[in-house]
């Protein structure tokens, strides 16, 4: 919300547009145009609230005004006159669910070849491409995910490449453009991939890498170039205007610009990596080039290095039960998420990587919680909910704005039909920035994508 010209860009006057062009586009191309509409102040009463900060509040209230949480707890807040009051009848309320690993829009439904926009599998290093430029906002999967309580998600490219593309964080709001969904000022992600996928794709092409050691050499070569590029641009920027006239301005390179953004701490690394030993190698790689790995994705063997992940402040975005589909996924266990969660300072995240899984991330968390408890770890719902809310927000660098029901945070809220850690429970109402974007009992509050309009199912209902 700090973007100075967003309102003007949104309203589209000529003057404002030109202003935006001159002031912003060089720094922030393809800016967010998302503007939540106004909403009635809303009080949810009589709710079992999982705050996302580790607390469970019984018979509690949640009050939000102008898109922000104003009060949470047992006390009755001072209400403005026109407040909408929703009696949750003891039902459960959680922060909006966040999926840090989705391919909605880049591998949309229907999954036809013409929609296959998730892997720029033409070279192992393609840090110059941005996933948002592949997002098809009409993917029916967005609406299905909304019905499962998803309010925010990161769209990532596939894992064919060592450096895949920038990822983009979206609000799950129906829009004609991805810019209309783009989470304002969320940091960009950069998807990198370990292991079997890059070496298989480029080994077959004969260009390499064709081995894991080839993968590592590929990362190192790219970071060396990026370090030089970053230094060259930083040195130039430090020159005085007079000095700048005496040297030529360094050329802009989209690939290296993104990598330099990582070195400068502005872009978060999302590293697809399965095996424990490879993850440890990647942490050493990050030390060599002085950057931070934000989150390991998939991490089927993350439980083997849970202490090391916590020590390094790295999140693990994991599945509840996937395993065995390839060699590096052979050691998958259902206690992975709970074991990664166990050490002090951990950041365990449940991710979907699936247009089905994103519709029921609460159930994925439920499975992981149950398996952890079966193994003797004492994980209550108020802790497990963090895996799909506040920890996910931390992974995306937006945990100062959303991911928990904290006063001043975005009013991204789900009202559930019951305990969200059950197969029978449904998201009944979903609010994004205070706006009711989904209501299970009100067809006028259920978005339908253009693609589905007039199609068989839409007609039959």
């Amino acid at each position: 919300m700090t973007h100075p010209n967003r309102v003007e860009v949104f309203t589209g006057t000529l003057l404002a547009t030109s202003l935006a062009t001159s002031l912003c586009l060089a720094d922030t191309p393809f800016p967010s145009t998302y503007q939540p509409p106004s909403h009635t102040p809303t009080l949810i009463t009589n709710a079992t609230i999982l705050t996302g900060t580790g607390q469970k509040l019984e018979a509690a209230n949640l009050y939000f005004v102008d898109g922000k949480i104003v009060a949470v707890g047992q006390d009755q807040p001072n209400l403005s006159e026109e407040t909408r009051i929703i009696d949750a009848n003891g039902g459960w309320v959680t922060p909006g669910i966040i999926d840090v690993h989705s391919h909605l829009g880049v591998y949309p439904s229907p999954g036809v070849d013409a929609h296959s926009d998730g892997n720029e599998a033409t070279a192992p290093v393609t840090a110059e491409v941005w996933a948002e430029h592949s997002v098809w906002p009409q993917d029916p999967g967005f609406g299905r995910a909304l019905a499962g309580g998803i309010t925010t998600m990161q769209i990532l490219p596939g894992s064919a490449n060592l450096f895949g593309s920038r990822g983009v964080t979206l609000k799950n709001v129906a829009s004609i453009t991805y810019q209309g969904m783009k989470f304002p000022d969320a940091p960009y992600g950069l998807k990198m991939a370990c292991g079997e996928n890059p070496k298989r794709v480029y080994g077959r092409k004969g260009s390499g890498p064709s081995t894991r050691m080839g993968n590592i050499a590929g990362y190192r070569a790219a970071w060396i170039k990026a370090t030089d590029y970053r230094d060259e641009h930083a040195n130039y920027a430090a020159l005085s205007d007079v000095e700048k006239k005496e040297v030529s301005k360094p050329k802009r390179d989209l690939e290296l610009e993104t990598l330099a953004g990582v070195l400068d701490g502005e872009i978060i690394i999302h590293m697809h990596c399965y095996r424990a030993d490879e993850m440890m190698t990647i942490l050493d790689l990050a030390k060599e080039f002085n950057y931070r790995v934000g989150t390991f994705h998939h991490g089927v063997e993350a439980y083997k290095i849970s202490a090391e992940l916590a020590e390094n402040g790295v999140c693990g975005a994991l599945w509840a039960d996937w395993w065995g589909f390839k060699m590096e996924a052979y050691d998958g266990i259902q206690e992975n998420i709970a074991l990664v969660d166990r050490p002090e300072g951990s950041c365990s995240v449940v991710h979907s990587d699936s247009d089905e899984g994103i519709q029921r991330l609460n159930q994925e968390a439920a499975k992981a919680m149950s398996r952890g408890n079966k193994a003797g770890m004492d994980i209550p719902p108020e802790r497990a909910i963090k895996w799909i809310t506040s920890n996910a927000a931390k992974s995306l660098g937006i945990n100062d704005q959303t991911g928990s029901l904290t006063v001043g945070y975005m009013a991204d809220v789900v009202i559930w039909s019951g305990n969200p850690f059950s197969v029978y429970t449904k998201a009944n109402q979903v609010f994004i920035d205070g706006v009711e974007r989904y209501n299970r009992n009100d067809p006028t509050k259920q978005p339908v994508s253009d693609f589905e309009l007039g199609q068989l199912l839409e007609v039959s209902q």
């Binding site: 439904s109 299905r144 395993w323 065995g324 390839k326 074991l339 059950s422 197969v423 029978y424």
Partner: protein
């Protein structure tokens, strides 16, 4: 199966006294028999030589081994859906995958491709899936050249090399996705299948679509086997109905995302379906009508419904699909039947209802067997409490201690 090991979870919930396994009784359970006895509370089950000999309250008689279920739910061992368990170890390791044949030497349909010849009960998947509460699966041929993927049947997870049961089952693709295998149009599937059926009437020397071996097998399948058609689009399901009627064969439709549109006809034709309870996206143009209440609408219309998960490694996920079908309107008892006894009936295996005289294949659950937070506490196969240890539980035990001692490699070898 003799080395029954009481694991941690078991010790938490059950008291188990193990001597030898000639007789076993389970006391104080909620027994969902899936048969005429319905659900019995605070009931016992008595097992001798692998067979259920009595079910009821306060059964008399001592047994070599006693399990106190402490009120836990017991169901028949579950059906894992159509899987390739025993035909695959790691999906992306091609030499460990035997479920499909793509480059056959002859340009003909290969009904004679029988995946049971490639089955191994020692696949780690079998132990992992079984310990999650599953007793059997439909062993499926997948993909393959042209329209016919091959033949399989039910397989019991009792660890035998040839634990196949029920009728021979042939797997046939007739959907849009597989049309690329037959020249680009799904109509070619029917051209080939009608040609294969016509071959049955031709002399051997005049066969066009089948090998001699294939002809013999198709003849048997037509008389006694079951044809499993993979189809989602309503129009394709309609073609299946026509083919089944024309040739008077027994059929099942798997996928069936738009089957709800033809629910009455499927019920009238007595054609069961096998659906994924989680399918609700227009994943392709064959599935524009996919919806979460598909199973509910079908079963309401009287169609026999089973579940599958499109998974083999994670076949255990099928429970989540069944639970979701219930959440979207399917009758709970029908869903649980679909998860336990229905497939045995449809594919003509032995009855899996918990009843006197039936093989004792059952599961003691931690809670509602369709709930995602529940898990199998103990699985009993043919009267034997099986080891609940798998590669995955061993990995857990290796990494659960926070102190690694001499190193993880020395823990739980």
């Amino acid at each position: 199966m003799k080395n029954f090991t009481p694991v941690i979870a078991l010790a938490l919930f059950l008291q188990c006294v193990s001597v030898s396994a000639d007789s076993l009784r389970i006391n104080n359970a909620t027994i969902m028999t899936m048969g005429s006895m319905g659900t019995l509370r605070e009931a016992d089950v008595f097992i001798e030589n692998g067979e259920i000999t009595a079910i009821g309250a306060d059964l008399p008689g001592a047994a070599d081994q006693v399990i106190d279920a402490d009120g836990a739910i017991i169901t028949p061992a579950m059906f894992a859906g159509a899987t390739t368990t025993g035909l695959v170890e790691v999906s992306a390791v091609s030499e460990s995958v035997d479920s499909s044949v793509s480059e056959t030497p002859l340009g003909k349909l290969h009904v004679e491709f029988d995946v049971r010849r490639a089955y191994s009960p020692h696949s780690s998947l079998l132990g992992i899936t079984r310990s999650e509460g599953f007793g059997y699966s439909l062993l499926a041929a997948t993909g393959g050249q042209f329209s016919i993927a091959g033949v399989g049947s039910l397989v019991d997870f009792d660890g035998g090399f040839d634990s196949f049961s029920g009728s021979d089952t042939v797997f046939i693709d007739v959907d849009g996705y597989s049309s690329r295998k037959v020249g680009g149009s799904r109509a070619a599937h029917w051209m080939l299948l009608e040609g294969a059926m016509a071959d049955l009437q031709r002399r051997a020397s005049e066969q066009e679509y089948l090998t001699q071996a294939g002809r013999n097998i198709l003849k048997r399948l037509k008389a006694d086997g079951i044809f499993v058609f993979s189809a989602n689009r309503a129009a394709d399901i309609k073609q299946v109905l026509k083919f089944v009627g024309d040739h008077n064969i027994k059929a099942v439709i798997v996928g069936a995302r738009e089957a709800w549109m033809l629910a009455e006809e499927l019920a009238d034709s007595d054609i069961p379906v096998m659906v994924n309870g989680l399918d609700n996206l227009p994943a392709d143009f064959d599935s524009l009508g996919a919806r979460l209440d598909n199973a509910a609408l079908l079963s309401e219309a009287g169609v026999t419904v089973m579940f599958t998960s499109d998974e083999t490694h994670n076949a255990r996920k099928i429970r989540q699909g069944a639970g979701t079908a219930v959440a979207y309107g399917m009758d709970y008892d029908l869903a649980l039947q679909a998860m336990t006894t229905t497939a045995a009936e449809v594919f003509e295996g032995r009855s899996r209802v918990l009843a006197e005289g039936n093989s004792a294949d059952l599961v003691v659950w931690s809670g509602d067997p369709l709930e995602v937070t529940s898990y199998a506490i103990q699985v009993i196969i043919e009267g034997e409490p099986i080891s609940m240890v798998s590669r995955q539980t061993k990995l857990l035990e290796r990494y659960l201690p926070e102190d690694a001692g001499m190193g993880r490699a020395y823990i739980n070898r």
